[in-house]
Subunit: 337 residues, 2 copies
């Protein structure tokens, strides 16, 4: 089912208690409405959203959270559909969320196009939610992180977070998932071209997609090359050496192996304590991220500051004002009014 | 000359005007005292420092700013001494600054040990300043950035910024230099092991140090390998393809070529406009960095907040409180008191 942000908004006078009860019963319309509250910029919606999140929190956490990243063109949507269909067939309940701070400009290119994931969208055990269509990266990721909690409370036990291929979204996704999967394709020419090294370093699993037809050999070749590259990175705290797999989202070959590898990874980090450690670190990180984001948002959204900052920034760029003094002027204005 | 932070503090009742006049005349004792003011945590020193920086600003900017980075053991100090001696012999005026947020713990391991750079330290055309020994990374880099302005106003036309080999210091240094030089050595075994890819990506120039004696062949081999790695990165906005050189800080072989390459690079980016563009972007970045840093510092140094945050963080880690709600509680407390 695709969650719709346009219609089905929250009816007037609905109580947090009523929504929570329905979410915990697995009602997807209520889940959808609650996420709409999270995404709302209205103060009263925010209050209601916070109450719902807090009450759902004790029922959350019992899922595997998987980040799926890769540059445009690697076939993230078809991969998610293939993996999602494989999992719903195994009676898993799948929620697909997205982090795409650019979606306002691109008008929902990510997960927003309903012709994508057509098959998965009709599955009763799948819940697909487009990326919030407004806000900064910080704002969007906060909303995604909060949505995870509600999806888990509604009984979804496998959360897939899709990101677009720009560095910061990946870092944001990495900070909220248990397993970070990097999707790639075998390119003509240089296999590593254009891939930021920082993203490969974060990957718990690399999957070469489109390993089908005449592309199979090239995919196998790329697999070897990426595997060599990954060997250059020191093993991280999880003690897991990130493997490289190949798959085809069309023929479905390799999809079961992707899932087996994910569960093997989760199993290992569950046993050695890294799973819990990572989740605790993420929770702490999110508290501080949220504080920092709030402090900055309040400052930059301040009416006086946002008026004044334009001319001050210009003076700084034109070398008429020291950037440190400029900052002091604005900070003093903000706190002394 | 090594600037001393311990003695020679600013005499009482000295005016900003008097210090500025002496700095502009190239007086290094006054330069040193002004940097001490920048590093001071006293409010009245900060006010005086801001005035000096602002008045010096029109006389700053006319230098080449070079960041020098590399993991411990690559020989940064001896390299800086060799390059510095080469440049002072060419009548350049060299200032050596440092970014090392860890220097409080390591008690000034970086540039703080006066037995290092002994030769350069006695040069009248060299000014060596240890890293500020307290404060967060944000604080330390702010002080370094402000010190650059004063050194330039005092007539130093080549600024070398040394960093320790941990990711964030490099990013900070990169945001204040015209040329970012990564120093490496030919290692036994895997040449790329342990080097964060993000730092290689920032390098405008990679130099393999210790290319002397029986090490020369290995250094040449490493040069080829690093050059191949760098070819994988797309050329950045400067249109410059980062080269890999070798040198020996002991025999001095390769040092002139390092300088030639730096000047060639500066020449190219001066002509294609990237130099100015990068400096403007840096200035703007520093204004916002300073605002953001101030907002966070004020919050986390708030007496009430710093008391309360410990127990709230614990509740969050123990999953007794939602990290978003925790943040809201603290933010509301901060703004409503």
């Amino acid at each position: 089912m695709i969650s719709n942000t346009k219609k089905g908004l929250v009816p007037k006078n609905i109580s947090a208690k009523a929504i929570i009860k329905k979410i915990l019963a697995g009602d997807r319309v209520s889940l959808s409405r609650a996420i709409t509250l999270i995404e709302s910029s209205l103060y009263k919606d925010q209050i209601l959203a916070q109450e719902i999140i807090e009450k759902c929190l004790p029922f959350s956490g019992k899922s595997i959270r998987i980040g799926i990243s890769g540059i445009p063109g690697v076939g993230k949507s078809t991969f998610i559909e293939a993996l999602g269909m494989y999992l719903t067939a195994k009676d898993k309940k799948i929620a697909v969320l997205a982090i795409d701070p650019s979606s306002e400009r691109s008008k929902g290119s990510i997960l927003g196009d309903k012709t994508r994931m057509e098959e998965l969208a009709t599955e009763k055990n799948a819940f697909i939610r487009p990326s919030p269509s407004n806000g900064s990266l910080g704002g969007v990721t906060k909303k995604t992180r909060e949505s995870i909690i509600l999806c888990e409370a509604a009984g979804f036990n496998t959360i897939l977070i899709e990101t677009v291929g720009v560095g910061q979204s990946e870092t944001a996704a990495h900070s909220m998932v248990d397993c970070f999967l990097l999707l790639m394709i075998a390119g003509a020419g240089d296999e590593l071209q254009g891939i930021k090294r920082g993203i490969m370093e974060m990957a718990d699993l690399v999957v070469i997609n489109k390993a089908d037809g005449s592309n199979i050999n090239q995919a196998k070749l790329a697999q070897g090359q990426y595997q060599n590259s990954l060997h250059l990175f020191p093993a991280n705290e999880s003690k897991w050496r990130s493997p490289v797999l190949t798959c085809s989202s069309i023929t479905k070959s390799g999809i079961p192996e992707v899932w087996e590898t994910i569960t093997e990874y989760i199993d290992i980090i569950n046993k050695n304590g890294y799973f819990t450690k990572r989740r605790q670190a993420q929770t702490k990180y999110w508290m501080y991220e949220n504080i920092n984001q709030s402090l900055l948002d309040r400052f930059y959204n301040d009416t006086e500051i946002s008026k004044k900052i334009i001319s001050i920034e210009k003076a700084v760029i034109d070398e008429k004002m020291n950037p440190f003094h400029a900052a002091n002027i604005l900070i003093n204005e903000y706190f002394n009014k």
